[in-house]
Point group: C2
Chain length 228, copies 2
């Protein structure tokens, strides 16, 4: 498997290129509009055909590259079920599997940061956690129909029940960290460790964060798969 973590410095977003070296087919997860040229160059260099652009959720901090990539490559845009978008080629459901040669990418419904959100388990050894679970943190729950109780349930019932050794690849990190594991986050994530559901809800309701700078532009754009 070809697996590449790509960082957009402006929004501190990680995108992921996953490709099967035999069939030369690729999928991009959480592409960033400003990085589309870099993404296309890498696909071309590695002689890969982009089949799918997949989103973990409708982002509020950057515009997705899906629509641009779809126009340029003919790939399909896939978003989580129930996402309020008018542009997807298909919606992915909980537990649905996308196959790319021998690679299996399985959706894990993990709502709460937003009201539609999937994590993606790749070949049973790593999970792309989107904004549901970050390294020593998690996504906020105070807009886009976020729900702290639902996020607590998603993380503790759906992600923390995966095997401890599974690598955690988040959609963001703001401190230069690139990867963690399920075991690590279960035991070390300050948002979840030794905290019950009610205490998590209280914590999340008192974060007092300002809105993402690009939110008013990014959310509507992403509801059109990044068409700008």
């Amino acid at each position: 498997m070809i697996f590449r973590q790509l960082f957009d410095r402006e929004s501190s977003t990680y995108s992921y290129l996953i490709a099967d070296p035999d069939t030369k087919t690729a999928i991009l997860v959480d592409s960033v509009l400003e990085q589309v040229e870099h993404e296309l160059k890498l696909l071309e260099e590695l002689n890969l055909t982009l089949k799918f652009c997949l989103e973990t959720h409708i982002h509020a901090d950057h515009i997705t590259g899906t629509d641009k990539l779809r126009q340029l490559t003919g790939c399909e845009g896939i978003v989580p079920t129930n996402a309020a978008v008018n542009c997807a080629d298909s919606f992915i459901q909980d537990r649905e599997i996308i196959k790319l040669g021998n690679i299996e990418i399985q959706a894990i419904e993990t709502k709460g940061h937003t009201d539609s959100h999937m994590a993606y388990l790749v070949n049973q050894d790593r999970v792309l956690t989107g904004d549901a679970l970050l390294i020593r943190g998690c996504g906020r729950t105070d807009f886009q129909n976020g729900d702290a109780g639902q996020l607590y349930d998603s993380v503790t019932n759906r992600l923390f029940t995966l095997a401890d050794h599974i690598l955690v690849y988040p959609a963001h990190d703001y401190h230069g960290r690139t990867v963690s594991t399920i075991g690590e986050e279960k035991h070390l994530n300050p948002r979840f460790k030794a905290r019950d559901r009610q205490s998590f809800i209280e914590l999340m309701s008192n974060l007092d964060l300002s809105y993402p700078r690009k939110m008013m532009e990014a959310v509507p754009a992403n509801q059109g798969c990044g068409k700008v």
Copy 2:
């Protein structure tokens, strides 16, 4: 093996934490002074004992965290043979192996960016290439006794002779890329592909780069292992 790539945004430096989960011993490669608190926190969280701080070379763009980490943890500071430093606990030679439980880290002499430089092959499946080989690039050769011909020889004779599948983890990237492979760099790196030694020397002598902002501070500090 625990393997963590850590990014310092200020200098675009990648540091690497490598640890053996059985013996709980760790090594940090190319630590960054400003990141020492994060590095220490991660070591503590993972219950690891830092045995060694290892440098690929004497950096000009950031100050190493080695001296601070040595003071706080008692780890040993190891630098490449011939490095002009007055502070190392030991010097590592070409082909020398550091063992960390079952992990083997083998030095590969790769001078040219500076007049002392090692890449480190980890468990025969990934190589930390320092500034000798970057993703689609290489370190400059116009100070610290850099030598373009020597760098060409180091990369083509010592790194490009490794197996194609070996993962390349550089000391820097400025475009959000985190990893490559030997095969990819052999075929795609514009500094080396289809270029002979003389043409590489000419290319490197015409880059016309300004000096790193922190160079006058970083080089002397790093000659003292980061004592500031």
